[in-house]
Amino acid sequence: MRWIRPLSARTDEPVELVGGKAHGLTVLHRLGLPVPAGFVVTTEACRAFRRDGRLPDGLGHELATAVADLEAATGREFGGAQDPLTVSVRSGAAVSMPGMMCTILNLDAARRLERAVAAVFSSWDTPRARTYRELHDIPHDLGTAAIVQAMVFGNRDDHSGTGVAFSRDPNTGANVPFGDVLFGHQGDAVVSGGTPTRPLRELADREPGVWTGLLDALSRAEGHYRDACYVEFTFQSGELWLLQVRPGRFVGAAAVRVATDLVDERVLGRNEALLRVSPHHLRHVRTPRIAMTEEVDILARGLGACPGVAAGRVATTVDSAVRMAAEGPVVLVRPETSPQDMSGLAAATGIVTARGGPASHAAVVARAMGKPAVVGIGDLDVDTTSVRADGRTIGEGTMVTIDGTSGDVALGRPRVVTSAADAHLHRLLEWADEVSGNHTERDEARRLSAAQAVLRRDQR
């Protein structure tokens, strides 16, 4: 076939042709992990589509053949009357463009497949996607691949669900799986953040078979990438399926912890560990963080939107934030923010919202004002005098501390630290000084940069 490649252990195509997502799926196949049957329409087809304004000749025929193979592999019929084959059509470029392009789920008529592939290809050229590429130095002519896979249903029954998992904690780097699971839902619900998720650990009790399979998958993926990794998964009637894998891309203290731990686990050598951490990661090691100990009482966790720690009394309306700010620091907690909340945002020392992501109004304003902020706490209910999260209700005036890096909202005033004091960082920087031979006082990023310069020179 000219425009289509199967997704299988034998597929060995460059990421430029099949895109990052399909490339990851072939890795999963090679690791012997369960992946829904499917195929990928290449970025070359997308480039032809962009050039000619229509799908290339011959693609229709190839799609029909590939669908027939999919029907044979699954034993189900596309558009069939009983238990039909349904497919998802997802975008996947060689570079990550999260949330910019389209995904089509539950497709159930062969005629619509060509239109769905065309829709995915067109979504490469929406103004928003073009702007994103301009900002991130991504060439417009790369194009996206379109991945067609048999659907698995996280909403099938009581033993179905979906989730995302890191092999290690992306906030701290600690070697414990971390993520979110949503019982009884499909994958788009997790990513959209519209439905409250549960901590990944709950999977162990509710679906022990799925949990064991997931731990095995994370361990094999780590073995492949020699790094912390990230997977998206769905389980249908107790059966685990993997939908995506990539390296974890940890930053800051978490990146340092993973690099040093992987040396102890004999996965990496010291020099390789030094090259794994970007000096940019260390520019932020002096950002304050909540010290995570047993005693810290976490009320809720969302997305960190502006780094730093803020402690103050909860205010749930602009009026009370403005009033209470006269007596001491205030943390403004809102369902989301709008221009009407500006005076409350100005009065507050920290900002928390239930809805919204890192580009929401609250996040943009918080960063403009340099105020720690946590957004996107799915299960946070805010009313006029109280806040409810995780089954607990706290009133206005309650002292809370928020961490705009990790997204934690803690009750009271837990201890605050900077990761410059972190033992893992000390070790890494000692290795760096040994390599560079320079033991003078310098900031962390410069100590690492000096070591990397020596290592890169020796590599040449």
């Binding site: 103004p127 928003r128 702007t131 994103y132 301009e134 900002l135 991130h136 891309r249 930053v251 800051g252 970007s278 940019h280 990661h281 520019r283 932020h284 602009v318 009026d319 934030a321 403005v322 009033r323 700010a325 006269a326 369902p335 989301e336 709008s338 221009p339 009407q340 909340d341 500006m342 005076s343 409350g344 100005a346 009065a347 890192p358 580009a359 929401s360 109004h361 996040a363 943009v364 304003v365 960063r367 403009a368 004002m369």
Partner: protein, 203 residues
């Protein structure tokens, strides 16, 4: 064509701006500050607005004022026969909105070696690239603003304010991108709030 009524302009500005001083209301409405002040006093006498003291205080709507604004702004919309046109423009606005938020995020944060870092504006080339994207975005935003102002003239003010914010940012006043109360982001967010209020859509 309905002529903007200064009474309603000031009342409604407090709906989408929030607590603010008369200077900000003047900037939002295009009225003179002295005229805004006299309108505010009339509105306060009518119990529709109140003044909150303190560093973060200012003029704001009372509960009665909020109800009165909702009624009058709906009347304005219906008597101009503008609901369909404003609804259509709002749909177009919603297509642009995530892109504007992406642009503001790119202005404030940038990715270096995969690490999201605060943009400290020490790299003029990067800033120029983002401002270029703002300029290109603005051309499409202006189309939506024109749809709105031909339906309801008071919306014409947004085109002026957005254009001014961009001009100032381009001449070096970087706080007019996403920081100040008259920044592109702030004006855009007020337009969002105004559209929701005008169409009676709850957040």
């Amino acid at each position: 064509m309905t002529h903007p009524d200064p009474h309603l302009l000031v009342l409604h500005a407090l709906r989408y701006v929030g607590f603010a001083g008369s200077g900000r209301i003047a900037a939002a409405t295009g009225l003179r500050e002295s005229d805004v002040e006299s309108e505010l006093i009339d509105l306060a006498v009518a119990g529709l607005v109140t003044h909150l003291p303190g560093d973060f205080g200012g003029w704001g709507l009372t509960d009665t004022g909020r109800v009165a604004d909702a009624e009058r702004i709906t009347d304005e919309l219906e008597s101009a026969g503008a609901r369909a046109a404003v609804t259509k423009a709002f749909d177009d606005f919603l297509v642009l909105n995530p892109e504007l938020l992406d642009l503001c995020t790119a202005w404030q944060l940038r990715s270096l070696d995969g690490v999201t870092t605060v943009n400290d504006h020490s790299d003029p080339a990067y800033d120029a690239r983002v401002l270029d994207r703002f300029a290109e975005f603005h051309e499409r935003a202006v189309v939506v603003c024109a749809e709105l102002s031909s339906a309801l003239p008071r919306f014409g003010r947004y085109r002026t304010r957005l254009g001014e914010a961009l001009d100032r940012a381009n001449s070096g006043a970087l706080e007019y991108v996403a920081d100040g109360t008259e920044s592109y982001h702030a004006v855009w967010a007020q337009l969002h709030e105004d559209l929701l209020a005008t169409l009676g859509i709850p957040r």
